[in-house]
Symmetry: C2
Subunit: 297 residues, 2 copies
């Protein structure tokens, strides 16, 4: 099933909540919220969230939709703030001007703040139909977003003199994938703990796939400068274990991810989704380039 | 009753939640959270919140404490982001270096983000004892913080070519005072609507008192440059109605605030609190300077 229309509708409804009538609300900030959330994006995290909710029976689809929208809002907020001059100073995001390039830095800071707040408002509104689940969703999303272990903490490690690499990757990349699997379970009335490993392993797989792409693909293929890990001497899977080693490691992680799926009605379908992501993560050209890079060694 | 120790304890407990163990969490960001929340501050908003909760019976003091802490966390987050170079570019806050001067801009942006997230986590954790109230607190705080009508919207008006002054002041100054009275009521199990007017009027009173201070007090007395409204030609109560007119207006607003207090067990005590704030807002020297300024006219 294509979950994209469901995610898109939930996200549009959420953003509309934050946009008051002309004259009663600052319109440039309102437009920036659209720009930040509606400029493409693979919607990976909410797709995983809804897939887990469906695997668990999805008995409160309104709540799952809200959780999917809230998670994507947090992801979009993090991209807006990460692009700011104080961090990556990125002019482009998904081929369009970054929010601060389009609307200025003050509006970009406020857009990120507003999207974070909106994520929790969306959960609180939808949570009324099942308040216990609603509050647990708020709590889970907050823990995966803020300090001491969420994406804010992940970004915060980049301002430290000494970095705990494991904690850094878990917080920066892993935390929103763990939120995806756990929030999907919570929205469908299940306990979140058994779903942590699946989220963590998908997060690790994304990290290794990113390292491979950085090493193997060109700027034209990825839309961002290539070979940056090697240039900046950043620790990454390709430097540690070579291209073939990293590809093998990626397959192991994804195998582990599938093995970790808790027993549930939709177990088989969910395993299929993880396999589909695995194929997307190692696309044909990436595989071919890996073979070439290995042959050249 | 002095509510300060109660607020201080709740706020410290909240910030501790966000600070993981050494080596497992970025310590500069963790220190910035302390810096942003523990550097003094009158705690006006949480004091109003707890006063309303007490007036309504305060049958869930743990929830009221969490609401008070959450509201102050949002206020502190807004100060950290407002001080950034993209906004006020302030070097000092309450006589100490602003967060970005002490820890750099990346950590300051992340500290603001983390404090916003923490506010909602604190509500979600405490809300478990009364999930309906917990969710309503999350929803109310989000509406008063984000878009289209919260403090983010208020700040956002400053990037608009045309400003709706009423909407601007309601969002920028009023919204967290409305949150204070309404969250106090919700935490104690009461409906929030009857409490909106009290919050709105206290917010207005703070705005007029600020205008008076800007016009009448020296930099040494307020800790910030004096006469800025006149210098920048900003619309303000003193320019509109003169010093004596503004003082009369302030008294009218506070009278209206007291009259608006809904019938509740602690009505009389709450009126006493508003009167005490009124006296603080028009301190002896401000009154004397108003008389002098009027005499000189």
């Amino acid at each position: 099933m294509d979950l994209f229309p469901r995610i898109d509708a939930a996200l549009r409804e959420a953003v509309r909540l934050a946009q008051g009538p002309d004259g009663e609300t600052p319109q440039r900030l309102a437009a920036a919220l659209d720009h930040a959330t509606m400029s493409g994006g693979a919607r990976v995290r909410p797709t995983i969230l809804l897939s887990v909710a469906l695997a668990c029976g999805d008995d409160r689809p309104g709540l799952s939709d809200a959780a999917a929208a809230a998670l994507e809002l947090i992801h979009c907020a993090s991209l807006v703030h990460d692009d700011l001059p104080a961090f990556d100073n990125a002019d482009l995001r998904r081929g369009k001007p970054s929010v601060h390039r389009a609307y200025g830095e003050p509006v970009a800071i406020l857009a990120g703040d507003s999207l974070i707040v909106l994520a929790f408002e969306v959960l609180a509104r939808a949570g009324i139909i099942a308040p216990d689940r609603g509050l647990r969703l708020v709590c889970n999303l907050a823990q995966r977003t803020g300090m001491p272990g969420g994406i804010c903490a992940g970004q915060g490690w980049e301002s430290e003199p000494l970095v705990n690499l494991g904690a850094y990757h878990r917080a920066k990349t892993g935390s929103l994938f763990v939120a995806a699997t756990q929030m999907g379970a919570i929205a469908a009335g299940q306990e979140p703990e058994p779903w942590e490993e699946l989220g963590a392993r998908i997060g690790e797989a994304f990290q290794v796939a990113d390292d491979l792409k950085d090493a193997l693909l060109t700027e034209a293929e990825t839309g961002k400068p290539a070979g940056q890990d090697a240039v900046h001497g950043r620790p990454n899977a390709v430097a540690l274990m070579g291209v073939q080693g990293a590809v093998r490691h990626l397959k192991d992680i994804l195998g582990g991810a599938i093995a970790s799926i808790p027993a549930c009605p939709g177990e088989a379908r969910l395993a299929g989704m993880v396999r589909a992501y695995a194929e997307r993560m190692t696309p044909v050209n990436l595989g071919a380039q890996a073979a070439r890079a290995t042959g050249a060694k």
